[in-house]
């Protein structure tokens, strides 16, 4: 109720201001000729309005500059609200239907299905711009034929090597373990798991057994049919158990994201499977690191998930025109995408920006190379039902709580199927 009053108050104020504006500024005769000469000169006629953007701490900062430029060129106020990345989706889903949400949010492409079926994001037609983006980035935000996001960054995990400990570039899991043990660290490899598992970091190894999460059609789009069961899935489950607590111990549920990051920075392991977001912590700790493709555990190519980050437009926003102008004309530019890369470490989604960045940074080039064999994270809304079962089952197999890996894997498949309905 209070919030509504605040909104009402804001609305009242805006209306009053708008009334003043139109009362004092109806000198249209002058603007007819000025308006026809293109976008740059219209800035003299100040527009009103506020564009609200929700972004997390890594995105809020680089957006400030482009927001200031947008403000000075259009006269529109841009309000960037900093939020915890994990809070953006649930809060947006709750607020957008009431018409009170932000105009634009920063998000990940795998939110697309859920946001679209909930009816809270508007399609954004990239038009001619589409060709300027890396193909996987554009495909990632499309759902049932329409595009819903303006991509800015691509991310995937890869194998990060501590060059001070070894110079082996392993192509199989066993080679990596052997090299890791030879390097003399406390852990042969660091693969973050935690008590609830981490299916995202485990996925390249799962795909190397030929057990992708969902089936795909001819064009590579995911179908809502599970494909992670069967013989390939069982082989993967057995592999998890063989490397878990009851086996070699290379995989441990006690290794959380924080512990893995700290251990690698302390030089306790030669290899870590992680993403670009951790690299600065390693270089700050004085490590020399290389980024390599992820080795295969099951014989086939180890394909990590590729995630694309981008901006969504609120379907209930009254500022759609402004929001699209801001995204298509201001954010989808090399400068902004490079600035976002500098602060967040994600490879730019615009081809020119991405090439430029990869050319002077071997780390970026390494992640890009590892991501070439990657598969986009599914945007299907069904995916939301998969993560919990998937992660916890892997954790149970690794820790030995599930003593029969094949049966545990089969139960998981059945549970996910029941949850998807």
């Amino acid at each position: 109720m209070r919030r509504s009053i605040m909104i009402a108050a804001a609305a009242g104020l805006t209306l009053a201001l708008a009334a003043c504006q139109s009362g004092g500024g109806t000198t249209d005769d002058e603007t007819t000729d000025g308006g026809a000469t293109g976008g740059e000169e219209t800035s003299s006629a100040a527009a009103t309005g506020t564009l609200t953007i929700w972004a997390d701490e890594l995105r809020a900062e680089p957006l400030t500059d482009v927001a200031a430029q947008f403000e000075s060129e259009t006269g529109v106020t841009v309000e960037i609200v900093q939020k915890n990345f994990d809070d953006i989706r649930p809060e947006f889903l709750a607020q957008a239907p009431t018409g009170e949400g932000p105009d634009i949010i920063v998000g990940a492409h795998d939110w697309t299905g859920e946001l679209v079926t909930a009816g809270v994001v508007a399609p954004v037609d990239l038009g001619a711009k589409a060709e300027e983006f890396v193909e996987v980035a554009v495909n990632a935000f499309s759902y049932e034929g329409s595009n819903y996001g303006v991509p800015y960054g691509i991310e995937n995990i890869a194998l990060v090597r501590n060059d001070g400990m070894t110079d082996v570039a392993p192509t199989t899991w066993d080679e990596m373990i052997a090299a890791g043990e030879a390097a003399g660290g406390q852990y042969p490899v660091l693969l973050q798991q935690g008590d609830a598992g981490d299916a995202y970091h485990m996925y390249p190894f799962q795909t190397s057994f030929g057990a992708p999460v969902f089936a795909t059609d001819d064009t590579g789009s995911y179908l809502p049919e599970l494909a992670l069961g069967g013989e390939a899935g069982t082989a993967f489950a057995d592999w998890l158990a063989a490397n878990g607590a009851a086996g070699t111990g290379a995989l441990q549920t006690a290794i959380t994201a924080d512990i893995a990051k700290e251990a690698f920075a302390n030089g306790e392991s030669a290899f870590m499977v992680t993403g670009p977001w951790n690299i600065s912590a390693f270089t700050d700790a004085g490590l020399e690191v290389s980024v390599l493709p992820i080795p295969s555990a099951g014989g086939e190519t180890a394909a990590p998930f590729v995630g694309v980050q981008g901006f969504f437009v609120n379907a209930t926003s009254e500022n759609q025109l402004l929001a699209n102008t801001f995204l298509l004309d201001y954010v989808a530019t090399d400068e902004v995408q490079t600035a976002l890369y500098t602060s967040g470490g994600r490879i730019p989604a615009l081809t020119t920006a991405s090439d430029a960045v990869a050319a002077d940074d071997p780390i970026v080039a390494g992640f890009a190379a590892a991501g070439e064999v990657g598969v986009p994270m599914p945007t299907l809304p069904q995916m939301g039902s998969v993560w919990d079962f998937w992660g916890t089952t892997q954790a149970d197999i690794i820790s030995g709580d599930a003593s029969d890996p094949a049966a545990a894997w089969q139960t998981m498949v059945e549970n996910i199927e029941a949850a998807i309905g």
Binding site: T37, G119, T316, Q320, G421
Partner: protein, 529 residues
């Protein structure tokens, strides 16, 4: 307080009432009421502006009632009760009523937006760029009658159209440097500020591309670039039905809040509709949910009961110890004991989680010298750890209230007991505990209800884990009812807020029942005396 006020009222009727005394306090009251009235009037105005009729009605009623009560000579009890009643209505009754309403709907993942929004969204998402259509430089224009239109450049030629009139070339129009139309005879080109003033209309505007509807229409997202797109569905408001323009399939609303074709395909999004008792039925008939509720319910009762019992007896023991006159430095020790109570609970829970981690936590690695004890990852140890952490968090509160209550027990009762030859334990059992219970029992019931829904503790210490291998809802061993609700209906892939509301009502009923039984017992305690 209210009883005192009522007594005042009767004799003073007709003589000087508080409202009539024109002293300084009267002006203070006037000032306070002025501020409240200003706030309420503003709320009335604001809710009218945003068309929130329910809020408008409630604020108007509040405005009238508040002024009536506080400017009336009588209504003295109401003067004391009204603020409490208002807060009760807003924060308790409204919340419960709204939860109950949601419990009878299918509000969730695909059913969150309103029906109108859903229709608008289906039309919008089906409006797709015509295959291979190129971007066209575009200007938003108005004709002499102020009708909004688009001017675009098609094949080097300026064409103009409105919602009713398809695009057609205009003689004498010029193209500017950027390739966009510059001057169009008979049309006025809008500048950016003017476009933004009507941005809603501009994004909604569809200018037919030609006389042939199959060619689609021209629309814009930015006001500077247009493209040719064509709709996939058409909506007939009179028949309340969508038609797929290419296949002719008709979609009509079903009772689940979706537009559905005969073959069962649905258009998303849908909107929330009431579905009767279905959410409640699912709790009983869906074996995945009912078994989870039973299992978690048993643990919830055990957890809440043990939490209250352990914290109370530890608190009472310490209170009795430090109530003894022979203990030195009692004040200092008492203040130290309250420390855990002074830490924010969620922070303490997170710290405990870190300390109990196996093998990296402080307890295993340092205190126990590298022991391998799965504090949080083994079923029974995790339960033990949860209760132990809650004991640490909760005993200072019990210590405080027990100390207070003990000091209220008269000393002469103990002297009489001593003369009768009662030993210390007998004194405790027959005098201290019963006398204490009269004042403390309601607080114990409140503590039970609080712990019954102690979501923070569970989530921050174990997140409900360790996982139950193969559980059909991916629940953990230490999940209590409220965290089950959260996992099943809120964080799971499909959001089911209707189901969550129904489950919350179940929890409400359980807690209400237990409290009612508890309070009835307490009354019996009083009767004994």
């Amino acid at each position: 307080m209210s009883t005192v006020a009522t007594k005042d009222e009767t004799p003073v009727r007709g003589s000087t009432s508080h409202a009539r005394e024109l002293n300084g306090w009267w002006f203070v009251k006037l000032a306070v009421m002025a501020v409240i009235n200003a706030g309420l009037l503003y709320a009335v105005y604001s809710s009218f502006m945003v068309r929130q009729w329910w809020i408008l009605a409630v604020t108007v009623v509040l405005l009238v009632v508040v002024n009536w009560v506080y400017f009336s000579k009588r209504k003295v009890p109401a003067k004391y009760l009204l603020p409490g009643v208002i807060f009760l209505l807003v924060y308790q009754v409204f919340t419960m009523g709204y939860t109950a309403y949601i419990a009878f709907t299918n509000y969730g993942s695909e059913n969150t937006v309103s029906r109108d929004q859903a229709i608008e969204q289906i039309l919008r998402t089906g409006d797709i760029r015509v295959e291979g259509a190129l971007d066209m430089p575009l200007k938003v224009v108005r004709d002499e009658a102020d009708q909004l239109g688009f001017a675009v450049v098609v094949d080097g030629e300026v064409q103009v159209g409105t919602a009713e009139q398809p695009l057609e070339p205009v003689d004498g129009a010029t193209i500017g440097e950027g390739g966009a139309p510059e001057e169009i005879p008979g049309w006025r080109v809008l500048n950016l500020a003017e476009v933004l003033e009507v941005q809603g209309e501009v994004t909604e505007l569809r200018v037919p591309f030609s006389d042939d509807p199959a060619d689609g229409w021209v629309r814009t997202q930015t006001g500077a670039v247009g493209f040719q797109s064509s709709p996939r569905y058409s909506y007939d408001a009179a028949a309340d039905a969508f038609t797929d323009i290419t296949t002719g399939t008709v979609y009509i609303p079903n009772d689940r809040g979706f537009f559905e074709a005969e073959d069962g395909t649905r258009l998303t999004p849908g909107w929330p509709v009431t579905i009767g008792f279905e959410n409640f039925q699912r709790m009983l008939t869906d074996s995945r949910i009912s078994s989870a509720l039973l299992q978690a319910g048993a643990w919830t009762f055990a957890f809440a009961f043990l939490s209250v019992a352990t914290t109370f007896f530890l608190g009472l023991f310490l209170a009795m110890t430090f109530n003894h006159p022979a203990v030195r430095g009692r004040t200092l020790i008492r203040s130290l004991l309250i420390l855990p109570y002074a830490f924010p609970g969620f922070l303490a829970a997170l710290v405990w989680r870190g300390m109990l981690n196996n093998p990296y936590g402080f307890i295993n690695s340092t205190i126990l010298g590298g022991a391998d004890i799965p504090w949080l990852t083994e079923e029974w140890l995790a339960r033990f750890s949860i209760i132990a952490v809650n004991l640490w968090l909760g005993f200072p509160y019990m210590f405080l209230i027990a100390t207070g209550a003990l000091q209220a027990v008269p000393g002469d009762v103990y002297e009489a007991a001593k003369i009768d030859g009662a030993k210390p334990f007998r004194q405790f059992r027959s005098i201290t505990l019963p006398l204490l219970m009269i004042s403390v029992a309601p607080l114990l019931i409140a503590s039970f209800s609080f712990n019954f829904n102690n979501f923070n503790l569970i989530y921050f210490v174990t997140e409900g884990g360790p996982n139950i291998p193969g559980h059909p809802l991916a629940l953990g061993e230490t999940d209590i009812l409220i965290s089950v609700v959260y996992k099943v209906a809120v964080v799971a892939g499909t959001k089911q807020y209707g189901l969550a509301a129904a489950m919350s009502i179940l929890i409400f009923v359980i807690v209400g029942l237990v409290s009612w039984l508890g309070f009835r017992q307490t009354r019996k305690l009083e009767e004994v005396l």
